[in-house]
Symmetry: C2
Subunit: 575 residues, 2 copies
């Protein structure tokens, strides 16, 4: 039976606890419940009262394809609301091999306390000096960790941005190649970890406890069908493996919803130069890798290894949203420079979506010129240093906008908007506005029905049907995040009649608890209800469920659409 | 009849409008009504949709003592809610001599537009090049304005902090000595003016239109009694004129409610060195002035001229809250250094309460040591410069705390707390929590009944009676602010049985509209209702009516009191 490891970061006491009242939960459902139950909603996110929760999903440790995602939960320093930041990497695969489903970090050390590494073993926790690793960017720091604790360590680490408790800071999780490349990106989870003075959480590489399935035979059958489903859909078997998520650059540009120059236009002249097609061509020419998994058990392989001009490793997990943000939205069309920005974000530990919007604010504010990729790189390099400009930028979009007097600030609940203009893809706008997470495309990816025509066909620019698809997707996503599945399974699930039953079979045979499709849905509904309850207690109201005014008043070329959902209408998208 | 001047800062069109639906309103009641009616509550405070309103009170232009206060209203960049920032100086005295009660600044110029001075004459408005004045600190800028437009100009001006649209920025109003010394301090009104690219509003020094009273004889009688009331109370006739508001340093320290080292202690060892008594002694020795009015018609004269060691002018309007904030709260006991910090705030145009708390955050965050007054001066000098650290600091307490990872942040609605610890003076804590303005002692100064025993005796440390006195004071203050009276008249009014009737008589005889005591009260109630309505529309809820958690969990020495009002209890303090 999986346990929860509870660690007090001040006293260094720890306990391996039974699941108790949290039994049956996993992933996002678990982190959100813990945050709701244990974190005072009005606390300062960097105070001792906040908690940082890392959890595998209900299927964590199983051999079900794409079931290795990790949920990171806390009260968000960025939004002031609850946060579940979802990430790939090896963490959730390893945790069950320590007999664990989750770790809860509580309290915080005295001011001025040094950073430590927390080494988690099967029955013990060690607090190890990290003073020589603190301050180092993630790749170098991770090399030091590997040298010290073993090449096969599985880690969750913060970079200099997290150490400084900056609001755009990530927690970087190690990937199957032993790189700290996978970002729990959104909402400043790195700052919460930084406030607790943890440089890295290290899972004992020697841990190998068997993870037994309750009904191994039934699980095997379901698991086989599950792989067939994923491999039977063109998006998960062809589009994503070949071009990564960057396949969307050309698609969204064609639709006219690729936010350009801080959400002023829906198409970017340089789109083809930063497209997934261009990326894959470049990767091939430089002998990188365009099919690559971010965690053990991934069959979709949407990641890649992107090398520089000289054929040396530059970055991985080079996502559409990153390419959009540092590309079209800044009027930059140099893919190598964008890749460098992606790498710099992984190095300091910064959310690429938040930072891309942040750099847009610096361009709006006249700090650097539009389209100047070298200047943008220069700004990103400042984050995590002693330069006060780095502290401004590292605190994200709202913060940087205010620092430079900018009033066109594309955020919901103080979190920056991702790569789909909500005026022209309205379903995802409903999600931005209403998810408890703040603007987040992954929380209810209506691009499926609006653009990709997966799981239905709801015209992108009309209002009809948008509330319904966003709500359903928000529930489905919360369930997927709670199971520990990769969100991209949704493409196949939405188009495959027996997929939900197969997932239910996976859970039933893995856990031994009879689980129906309704149960799966309820996992999602309940997670969302927990999150909404926390936000309400923190002071959020329907007024916070809305896009900034400029989306209502400025038509987006080429379709000259505006955002036209009232706050009242949007409430129907919430569970 | 007074008019409203409405100026479009982008098109430079302007209109002199009849009061219309705003007839009968003045001061805070007028600015808050205009903001409620005309500013979309969800707009970005620095966007074209926000408006900046400057208004005299209902008694503006009359010869009633202490009736020359100006209200400045807008959606606040600092709090995100409505703001009325109340200020002395000559502005509201001059406006009626132009036939005006208020000016509304609308829209904003294109990005990159230069700063202008707006010269307001009897029947026209001129937009004058301010490019050689922009960027200059207020005193030097004001000298240039005087040289250009006449020694007797009456101005409202922003410093470099306002030009940069920083959230702690003030609008500085000229005093009777022709200095830009009076601050519309709280809530970042300077940033709103800066966003509209106005360096200074200049009222034509030649304007001398007569301001007629409806019933001159009755007014004369009431006016005489009004002066007698003010001169008959020891606080307004002796305490304030002799020691200024700094008389409170020793009093509040004795009570044990002088916030020390970022609200950690209630007493400060160095209090006597920064007391009102020490200040007045210093002023006398250096041939300054300890009885001084901030606007024509002031009989209380709580201001002063504070000279430096060499007898040269250093600052004026040197308030208790400033001395507390840069003194006790930073562990600084050098009055000259505190005076220099006051001057620097007036120069860049920064709110002293917000900036004092901001410097406390920089000390918490390890940027400079506690008690280091020279380092604090060094930080203040950065605001308004190109140094990014200045942009952090100038954006105030919450912003600076976040930049440096500080979690003990004494704010309500993102506005920093003033000089009275709410754990030991609970009545003022109720005001901090519940006024629509964000933490603000002037919005309901329960220090009267809790400490000074003016207007009643409600023990400071108990819960009993606090809600009631705060609510009543909030109403009374809103009325006083709407009449254009100085808040300090309240000391005398609260203790003088016929005072409210005399105020009603002043209004009746000045305006010709029969005004009862109930009418006066209703002016306050209605202003508050307008403000609460705006905040509700902007997304504020009862959850925002609370002090930060650390006041509830950390007892304050020497009395070891904690804050113990629930959010639900506090709702009763709202109209």
């Amino acid at each position: 039976m999986s346990k929860i490891l509870r660690i007090n970061t001040r006293t260094r006491e720890y306990r391996f606890e039974e699941m108790g009242k949290y039994a049956g939960l996993g992933g996002r459902a678990l982190t959100s419940r813990v945050v709701l139950d244990e974190v005072p909603a009005t606390c300062h996110p960097l105070s001792a009262a906040n908690k940082l929760v890392m959890a595998g999903g209900i299927l964590a440790g199983s051999t079900a394809a794409n079931s290795g995602r990790t949920s990171v939960g806390a009260k968000s320093p960025l939004t002031g609301g609850i946060k579940e930041s979802n990430v790939g990497g090896q963490f959730a695969h390893k945790l069950p091999r320590l007999g664990l489903l989750a770790i809860i970090f509580e309290d915080k050390p005295e001011a001025g306390a040094p950073f430590v590494n927390v080494l988690v073993k099967k029955d013990s926790v060690e607090f190890l000096d990290a003073s020589d690793i603190a301050g180092k960017p993630n790749y170098a720091a991770h090399d030091l960790v590997k040298a010290r604790y073993g090449e096969k360590v599985v880690t969750a680490m913060i970079g200099p941005a997290g150490e400084q408790c900056l609001m755009a800071s990530t927690i970087q999780f190690s990937d199957p190649d032993g790189r700290p490349s996978r970002s729990a990106g959104r909402g400043g989870m790195g700052a919460v970890m930084g406030s607790k003075k943890i440089k890295a959480v290290i899972l004992d590489p020697e841990a190998k406890e068997a993870v037994d399935m309750a009904d191994p035979e039934k699980f095997k059958v379901a698991r086989k069908r599950w792989v067939d489903i994923l491999m039977g859909h063109p998006v998960t078997s062809q589009g994503l493996p070949t071009y990564g998520t960057a396949i969307l650059v050309n698609i969204i540009n064609e639709v006219g919803a690729l936010p350009t120059k801080n959400f002023r236009f829906g198409r970017f002249d340089g789109a083809s130069k930063i497209s997934g097609e261009a990326m894959t061509e470049t990767i091939k020419a430089r002998k990188g890798q365009y099919k690559h998994g971010c965690h053990t058990g991934c069959v979709i392989q949407c990641s890649q290894v992107y090398n520089d001009k000289d054929g040396n490793y530059l970055t991985t997990g080079f996502e559409y949203e990153t390419i959009w943000g540092f590309g079209a939205n800044l009027l930059i069309d140099d893919l190598d420079d964008i890749a460098m920005m992606d790498r710099l974000c992984d190095e300091a530990g910064m959310d690429t979506i938040e930072m891309a919007n942040t750099i847009a604010m610096s361009m709006e504010g006249g700090v650097i010129p539009w389209g100047d990729s070298k200047a943008a790189i220069g700004l990103l390099k400042k984050v995590g240093t002693a330069d006060p400009l780095g502290r401004i930028l590292g605190n994200g979009t709202v913060f940087t906008a205010q620092a430079f007097g900018v009033d066109r600030v594309p955020v919901v609940k103080r979190q920056a908007l991702p790569a789909y203009d909500p005026r022209t893809i309205k379903g995802v706008g409903v999600t931005y506005a209403t998810t408890p997470m703040g603007a987040d495309h992954t929380a209810g990816y209506a691009v499926c029905q609006n653009v990709l025509k997966v799981g239905g066909d709801v015209p992108a620019m009309g209002k009809e049907g948008q509330i319904e698809i966003s709500k359903n997707l928000q529930v489905a996503t919360a369930a997927v995040d709670s199971l520990g599945l990769c969100l991209f399974v949704a493409f196949a699930v939405l188009d495959t009649p027996d997929a939900l039953q197969v997932i239910a079979d996976l859970v039933t045979s893995a856990t031994g608890k009879l689980t129906t499709i309704d149960d799966i849905v309820n996992i999602g509904v309940n997670a969302l209800k927990d999150e909404l309850a926390f936000n309400a207690a923190a002071g959020f109201t329907s007024k916070d469920d809305q896009l900034p005014d400029f989306f209502k008043t400025e038509p987006l070329p080429p379709h000259n659409t505006t955002w036209d959902f009232s706050t009242e209408e949007l409430q129907a998208a919430k569970v």
